[in-house]
Symmetry: D3
């Protein structure tokens, strides 16, 4: 046996010992793969070309044949989404919850498919509303940037629209209690744009972020209408309480509330469950950990 | 009809109502698609392998056969670029400007192709100069980083070279008044490197940015030779005047001027049409909104 | 000859003049291509699916057939890696060092292949240890984020795990003195996550970074166990000494040391060869250039 | 210069001498490529999935959403076909015919696009009739093979249906005087099935060929309804008259006429402009060069 | 509405009328696609690389790591095959047979998956025997061709081995009563090699066909050991009895029996349920419709 | 362990027993893969686009930039061919011949690379002559078919040109004593066209075959200039002498000689080392095993 084969065989042996892979191995139920980044990327592409017809996708479409294209894409989106939600449910050990304790794996699979179908149907029904809100975001981005030439440029190029398209989809799936997939989606957007919005955050209409790289918006943030952020802004948690075992307690509101018409300049950090009042302006590079009254202007001392 | 089909058909119906898609739909002139991200990515790859032969592209080339490779790539780059410029012109409603009011669509298309060909020819002629300037950027990056081993490592790995290759191409297209494409290109670079340089910015030779993530350089910036930035630096606008309808006025100089030999440390923000004088140094994490004299050193108070 | 052909031929002529391409052209030894970004991406995918079985890769695997999958992937990883290390050695002018002065190209190639094989074998043997350490990073990320639901979500989504998987691989190759490839790998991770960790940095177990965009960790950093950073943190050099020719001196320790249990909040910059003592906490948006004692808490004045 | 480079450069030099490539080089009009085998293959796939919904193409379709799929495929088929007909017209030196002598290249291109669009529109309108006739061919294949289990098996597997789908499409394009493409299509079918039907041949309904390999049906054949052939049958020309320069005269009827209900067994050759009368049967492995009366049975003597 | 859109919409309307597509449309049970040519091609590739390790597939394998490769390929083959058998069963209206009359669709699906799994398991167990028989075919091809240099050339190039690999796989699936797929497989081989062997035919060991194009071997043929055919040979049916409705009666033995050691030269046709006795030789280009005694030599009269 | 895993593991175990795979396994020298069908297909595509510029390959080329395209393709063809010839030599156990008995594997590899480079260089030098001869074949095909419209149609569509392009390349490699690859190439052509020409056959200029399916031309055939065949013609061996062990003796002339200007009609078989004299015509469906004098006409009796 060659040295190389010996070394490979030895490494394989170590890496297949259960004690080696125990926390790093996901053994899914038979026939149920994990949610797939590749498939989610296709779902995002389908959603983009449905929401912004003519901007995404290769076809040259016109208003008379638009329904063919949206119909085909919608059907495929639905079909892919059902499988991905199934995979997400399966991943979350949904099938090992008490509700299913008495059932066979076949019964569980059928029930999970029913649930996945139901949530995918609801999601599809929400797309017209998602488009309506995204249209307000396009207007906000255009109004906020003197360098922008027209709405088409915003839709084609601006990272905030790429980000919000994914965030607003992910947020709907989050509200439908689809496990794992919302986070995978927003991390895909994070990688593409450098903007990290947790799918659990609540964000109003006419929202925009200029440039965007480095922005962080935490899980329990609540953002009103007509809010504008600049690059590098953090809307984060100040600290989080531990339970008696020293583990962080999940699900406590710990990120800021920004009321309507707030502006936050670049690299500012707003931390903790505080409220930035309607129309307040937060200057750049500063660190805010207490409530700011409506209409106030807070800036770095120099 | 199954429930799923009903739901899909209903969503398609809503999403194809003109009032739903009105601002989100790009219906292009017959046969003229939008500029394509995929094609632009190929154009960037071609340009990289022309500008840095042997570094990009799969072939193993040598000096004796180099001209074959550059010739083939140049011809393809030219051909793709003509189509993309056509698409950009078409997108910008160039064909609906007054100059064309009296002409048939066929005449307009022919004229747009003539213009696109002319601009692509000019662009091709500029590539040797683009390479010459990029060579100065490679030297600047090497001199600025003690961790760099050789020029080859800079060209192969450093995000600033990936960024500047695209920016310098996009800037030439911007000067040739090609619509939309320069912005699409720099946003591709932004996504890849986290550095956001507007294609309208003017940047001298021997320019470099260390690490780079989070840097923003605005549309009307003017940067001299031998300037170095660090990650997170913003060269932005402080505010922008509104016209009488409350909309931002486009095209006003509103970003800083950095003269030769300026250094700006990480996360500093320089805002507004101010001038940072020759050889000045701006410390990290600070907020600069007024002129800085030549040779000065400005830093965070602590 | 058409105008276009004339222009293309002229540009090709200029771009193939040796004085034009001299610093921008990599002419490798016959038959030895450069390390390839595409192949390195495949190596990363293989390593991920070996280290986290069931999370990456398309197959639905189970414990009984796991060894087949890891065996095939390991063999392919090994084979690709030998070629890439060869390419890296060749790129670094390793073959023109004094040690090889007396030898024919054939002898040199054989010797380089022997060295590449040896290093790839060592790398393969290290993978079980790499997995062991990554498991501690997963735990750190989970404990540090109240929004995380389970370890699987951390492995599937969190940028820090994507980043550390690549960094820890790259760091092993760096210690094996493989040229160029470690930097190419960490820049791939930088592009994906916005986190820029130099492969030469030394990082202990249970390490995590929250959100991550904009973080920079320099070449000579030394980080203990159980350290946590937030987005935008820089662990950088303050300045670097020049040699008598005015060039930066390479290889001098110039980045900070962070002892065990240190926390650094968002956008803080820690610069120079200083030591942040065990258990110290550095607040956000500040600039630290001097030693910080163990257990201290340093924050922005306001 | 290395020996290899010298040899390559020498061969390139010889192969780019005009006298070397003169008959082997197709220089098309600017911007007009040749018809493309790859695109024609996509057109065939689109046509198959329109004509036999559910059998070809990856989607799982149902009657309620069928129109979306057929609509999208039809639009793409139309768009690809217009370009391919353009390319075919251009290839055939259509643009150098007398009709165009007085026009500019731009005028010619516009006129060719108008013609291509017109023919593609006609083709699209013919598809329902093409499907109707193919349905009779499916029935004929099923009735003629005791091994067939159902119509679906015929559509999924039988080479005659693959062949006839392409032939019937190609024949319509032939009748629309589209140059080159009909022949390219039938040669694609020939390569796939071993059956060589010239697109100019006229073939009635309920036609089938069992097994098929080696069958040849010439350009001027006329075949009635309900005819069946077996593998290896030739319906060819016996000889062809030469013009005064010794070149074959094009376009003369020189292949057989098979009236309704004829059967021809394997490897029989029927040659020349003869008529095989209604209901005649031709035995295997024989050579027929004279008219056969209706109802006759002709077989190999032994 | 443009003329083109009108024409497309009209054609789509006609093609989606139920009376237009009625026999040409396969509407499968929900979620159950048709067997896929692409997937079957992958199954064939997997089987080839399992049966002939080192000849097919891209990896460079050796005896020490062979089990990894065969293991991975086998697991994937199994998984693909289960789905394809499911699709085949579904296609054959298996689920509408009397046996299932009383069950819900869910129960039927589960039962079909159980059956598909069972047949795929049986198939996997048969692969060692398939390899054993194919090894005899390799020897027969080598012994029968003076132009062959070694067994490796036979395995790499010879169409008969490509054909028999697929036929022997398809025949096992046929015996396991898998619907549709065996025919799809042998038609794939027919297209590749020009040899048309029905999967129902029974063929002994040490079988070979020289050149092969045009050979037809019918469903109920029985071929002994050590038989050799040449190109263009037909082993077909002479005629087939009709039932009282005039339809061919399915499943009746109607093709020849060839006993051991028979040779049939090129383009001979052997038709009907006749027996060619042990060791008989049939000359080229002849038509045989009656039994031939053992050891006889039959040839064309001239 | 699940039943499926048990069955798979058992089948893998049987299939990795050395006695199971012994003749079916190709274990190549370390790092030397088999010649690859995929790479050979790319070589054929490259050769086609070099020999027939403008007909194959996607680029729109013109005479002024033609040398770039041919240069790039030639360099890639050369590089791929060297590796394939290496693989072919290695496959043929060339390295285990007596000439190499005394050498190390490294020395053998270097020597094989030298030989492969030498043969690939010779091959490249022969391409201009290959193109010259193929031009005569195009003329022959055009003159022989009244249905052909122009030379371009012949080059684009006719199977005989596809076949002869590959055969003439394969024949040059055969004469250069490249192992295995010539046979792999002609079998690729056989699969595509149904025409089986052995690469060892010698074929003059102005050669054509009409339709072609089923034609067989054996290894030791010698064919003069201006010869025309029709579909289904066999130029084969009558029988072949066995050596004293009962194995066929390799390399004996055993196929026919066709002198200049011979025509052979469809499905005729010409067998054995006989000579068909200059200008003779052989009728269809007949069996010829004896010399035919110059100018004779031989046909089927009826």
């Amino acid at each position: 046996m060659s040295t190389t084969s010996q070394i490979i065989n030895q490494a394989v042996k170590e890496l297949t010992k259960p004690e080696s892979y125990k926390d790093m191995f996901h053994e899914h139920s038979e026939g149920t793969p994990l949610p797939s980044g590749t498939v989610l990327a296709e779902i995002v592409d389908l959603a983009r070309s449905i929401l912004f017809p003519g901007y995404y996708g290769t076809s040259t479409i016109n208003t008379e044949t638009l329904h063919y294209h949206i119909g085909v894409k919608m059907e495929r989106l639905f079909s892919l989404l059902v499988d991905q939600i199934m995979a997400g449910l399966s991943f979350s050990d949904f099938d090992q919850t008490a509700a299913f304790a008495a059932y066979s794996q076949t019964t569980i699979n059928n029930e999970m498919r029913r649930i996945a179908t139901d949530r995918a149907q609801k999601f599809v029904s929400l797309l017209p509303e998602v488009r309506r809100v995204l249209a307000t975001d396009v207007i906000a981005a255009f109004n906020g940037d003197p360098a922008a030439k027209n709405h088409g440029e915003i839709i084609s190029c601006y990272p905030i629209i790429k980000e919000l398209t994914i965030y607003r989809i992910a947020h709907e799936l989050w509200k439908l209690e689809v496990p794992l997939i919302p986070r995978m989606l927003t991390e895909m957007a994070h990688s593409e744009t450098g903007i990290d919005i947790h799918p659990g955050a609540t964000i109003g209409e006419y929202f925009t972020i200029d440039h965007g790289t480095g922005v962080v918006i935490g899980e329990t943030c609540i953002i009103g209408n007509n809010v504008k952020l600049y690059q590098g802004v953090t809307l984060g948690a100040k600290s989080f309480p531990l339970d008696e075992d020293g583990n962080p307690i999940k699900g406590i509101p710990r990120h800021p509330i920004l009321e309507d018409d707030v502006i936050v300049y670049s690299n500012a950090s707003i931390l903790g469950r505080i409220t930035i009042g309607k129309g307040a302006t937060i200057g750049g590079n500063i660190w805010v950990t207490q409530d700011v009254p409506a209409g106030a202007f807070i800036s770095q001392k120099r």
